[in-house]
């Protein structure tokens, strides 16, 4: 029982999160109130959405380093459209951001699929290209709060049934991803293609096309996150979310998504993101210098990957009959 408990990465992470909350609460009792926790969740929503997209890509043995740049580009396009074409309905802008993000993801996917360029090279390249494109589009200028329409800014903030729309959106994404990953053939194909690409060919799965789909998905999520980011912080400029791709990868790693592909779950990615989110929110509150935040998340990543690797380490083949009985 205990071993099964310890083997479940998600449970382990949940325990770690609980321990973290206990420590924070001990230093600052106000942290664990429902309102504050809801607030932390809301704050982590964007990271959760991105981590779920990145998860799918990592599952297929790829990586998407262009995610933050994609987010920034889509966010900027949505903000600029909102500013320069005032009449456009906000929902249409959200849709445009998602579609654009998917298209940018498709570029990554096509390069990986059709030209067989290693994913890390492709997304390293598109990362700089996407960022540069924002500069070319905007001329480096910022789109500020006063240039955005009120509805544009207020959509993610609107309170529905006691929770901001942003939180509801991320919940919806989580649920959708739970269904996609558990219940659809495509979701299972992500696991299969990353777990054993060779065997995937034998089962009739198209490895390249599945990876392409993964990139489209992560791109679409980045596009959605782009709108959310820009409207939430009410500002768009070239460098928004710079370096955030590494936070997203970190959330996945902490959540037990194996960088070697094929292993990882939706709850894992969500918990990984929440873990980082809680640390980010708790540090200023418990009087740990914000300067320590970086070192702490670095340590957490290393510990998480070490723990996950231990859990994953293959047992030797059991050939001796006696050994099999003991086990």
């Amino acid at each position: 029982m205990l071993t099964m408990f310890l083997r479940s990465r998600e449970l382990l992470l949940l325990v770690a999160i609980a321990a973290l909350l206990v420590v924070v609460t001990w230093r600052f009792p106000g942290f664990i109130t429902l309102a504050n926790l809801a607030n932390v969740y809301n704050d982590t929503s964007i990271l959760i959405i991105l981590a779920l997209g990145q998860m799918v890509v990592i599952l297929t043995r790829c990586i998407d380093l262009s995610m933050a740049a994609n987010l920034a580009l889509c966010g900027m396009v949505a903000a600029m459209l909102n500013f320069y074409v005032p009449g456009l309905p906000v929902l249409l802008l959200v849709l445009i951001a998602v579609v654009l993000g998917t298209a940018l993801g498709a570029i990554n996917g096509l390069l990986v699929w059709k030209l067989d360029i290693p994913p890390i090279v492709v997304t390293l390249g598109t990362m700089t290209i996407f960022r540069g494109t924002i500069f070319l589009l905007s001329g480096g200028a910022w789109i500020n709060a006063h240039q955005m329409s009120d509805l544009f800014k207020s959509l993610p903030r609107g309170i529905v049934a006691g929770m901001p729309v942003l939180s509801w959106l991320s919940l919806a994404v989580i649920i959708a991803m739970l269904v996609v990953m558990r219940r659809t053939p495509t979701g299972r194909a992500f696991y299969a293609v990353g777990g054993n690409p060779h065997a995937a060919v034998y089962t009739g799965l198209d490895v390249g096309y599945t990876r392409f789909k993964a990139y489209c998905l992560s791109g679409g999520f980045a596009g959605l996150a782009g709108y959310l980011w820009v409207s939430r912080y009410a500002v768009a400029y070239v460098d928004i979310a710079a370096g955030f791709e590494l936070d997203v990868v970190a959330a996945c790693v902490i959540g037990g998504i194996s960088i070697a592909g094929g292993v990882g779950t939706v709850p894992g990615a969500v918990l990984g993101a929440l873990f980082l989110g809680i640390i980010k929110n708790a540090l200023p509150v418990v009087n740990i210098s914000p300067f320590a935040q970086m070192a702490i998340s670095g340590t957490v990543i290393i510990i998480a990957v070490a723990v996950n690797a231990r859990a994953e380490r293959r047992k030797g083949r059991v050939i001796l009959k006696r050994a099999e009985h003991v086990a």
Binding site: V121, G125, A295
Partner: protein
Amino acid sequence: MISVEQTARYVPDRLKSPAARWVKSWESLLIVVALAIFITNSFASPYFLDPWNLSDASFNFTEKALIAFAMALVIISGEIDLSVAAIIALTSTAMGYAAQAGFDTPMLVAIGLATGLGCGAINGLLVTGLGLPSIVVTIGTMSLFRGTSFIILGDQAFTSYPASFAYFGQGYVWWVFSFELALFVVAAIVYGLLLHKTNFGRAVYAIGNNATAALFSGIRVGRIKFILFLLTGLMAGMASICLTSRLGSTRPSIALGWELEVVTMVVLGGVNILGGSGSIPGVVLAALIMGMVTFGFGLLNVPGIVMSIFIGLLLILVIALPIVYGRLSRRWARSAA
């Protein structure tokens, strides 16, 4: 009885002459690209062909290239080190701290190199000792090392360095040849020999192509990978000495984002990101190309980010074009047959 042909058949050492192989190599492609950029730049700006200007421009790439040499070896061996820029920051912080405490230049250099080595050792231990994937480990240590710098410095800066310390980033060996440029040339030669002419280099290639088979061939895979991480740490320490000396100050945000530029340089230099192949001359050429592009665009006052689009496109195109060309030529060959 089956007749096993026993007449020994002569197998030549090489089919193509070295020159013939060279013509089709990645390096020759890079030389063409480099020349094209050099000529374009000379025409685009009257200021380009000036020895002092070129010398100034070399600072754009020398420090990154120092790390790129070691990174090339790490990537050829099938690993990656994303923490190099963070090592620069931590090393610079350590030196700044020591300078504050009154240590003199030789001691600062020793501290810089030792800190770099120490960081490399941590990466190496995590990757080879615990068997963790290097990409994740070094994303973690990247935050850890730079984060440590932030803890030590916060919003402060170390700004007082001994006057003699300025030599590494601002001194000239002879005429327009700066210390950094000289170091770059020496490092290129040392790493070129190490990778292409020694047992160690051969082992690095073998590990990158097939680590299991290399282990089965008696190569001490773990030890060699550990040494590679040490070397990368050492070179990051060296780069940090140069950069700190050039800036004359240390902030925790120093060299932010350099890891990706270094990786880009290595990949552009023809090193396979999946390991197993690549060369030091290729990395040297990639460094020159990136330096010239930066400088050329700078002379035209084009914002740096536009230049990075160019580098990003170059990265993908340079890898994609041979693939597309190969496919097309195969298709032509088939349709011709």
